[in-house]
């Protein structure tokens, strides 16, 4: 098995936020939605059930930690948590803060059109809020 390398599409669509024990935490560069992605640093995985038991448990813990912090930081109406991977097969889990006023509501964020990149300073502001909420 080769070493883990972040999928280039994920790398291009996101910015790094934190490194957890198992996963890299990254933020989608799309100001329409506060949208985090956890990528376990394990090569060759595409499904949660491909992970061994310890890693499955660790991933759940990281998803829950990110969910708590994202809800606290954004006061969102709903969290959307998903592992899809239809386009990028490298295992990754989305944790998205949804608002009844957002651009895709009540539909899913996946397939909801072109991302709108953050303006200068906006990523730092959101990451600061997430850090204050205990994400890293």
């Amino acid at each position: 098995m080769p070493d883990f390398q972040l999928d280039p599409r994920i790398a291009g669509d996101t910015v790094p936020v934190a490194e957890f024990a198992l996963s890299d935490l990254r933020l989608m560069n799309d100001r329409r939605f506060p949208w985090l992605v956890l990528v376990p640093r394990r090569a060759g995985m595409s499904e949660i059930i491909d992970l061994n038991e310890a890693d499955r448990t660790a991933l759940l813990g990281e998803v829950l930690q990110v969910s708590e912090a994202l809800r606290a930081a954004t006061a969102c109406d709903k969290l959307n948590v998903g592992a899809l991977g239809n386009i990028v097969r490298q295992l990754h889990v989305h944790v998205v803060a949804r608002f009844e006023s957002d651009a895709a509501w009540p539909g899913p964020v996946w397939g909801s059109g072109a991302a709108i990149p953050y303006a200068v300073g906006e990523v730092e502001s959101l990451v600061g809020q997430l850090t204050a909420a205990g994400i890293a």
Copy 2:
């Protein structure tokens, strides 16, 4: 807190498959996708992080069990696992078998148009395959 009652929209869109320790397992009545839904029998919950720690762990275990059986039964190209709840707030987790040839690929199943109900006997056939794969 009132007793748990299955959301009427979930009840209308799905058929019962099994009862796990925590969750009811139901099948979406949409022959376009082998699409299972786990509904924890806990009143007033809308997020995974609303569950207590034991229930979070139990839910993950049930999601993994369903994922293994669904992949084994369908030989799908990809699993899609998601907890959204933008339309129905009652906590529920989707586990969907996806195929590169299916009606929504590579987009998500959520928001992919009107369900096509199973024909007579098709549900029983799929549930039989799931049972053989260890789902219940």
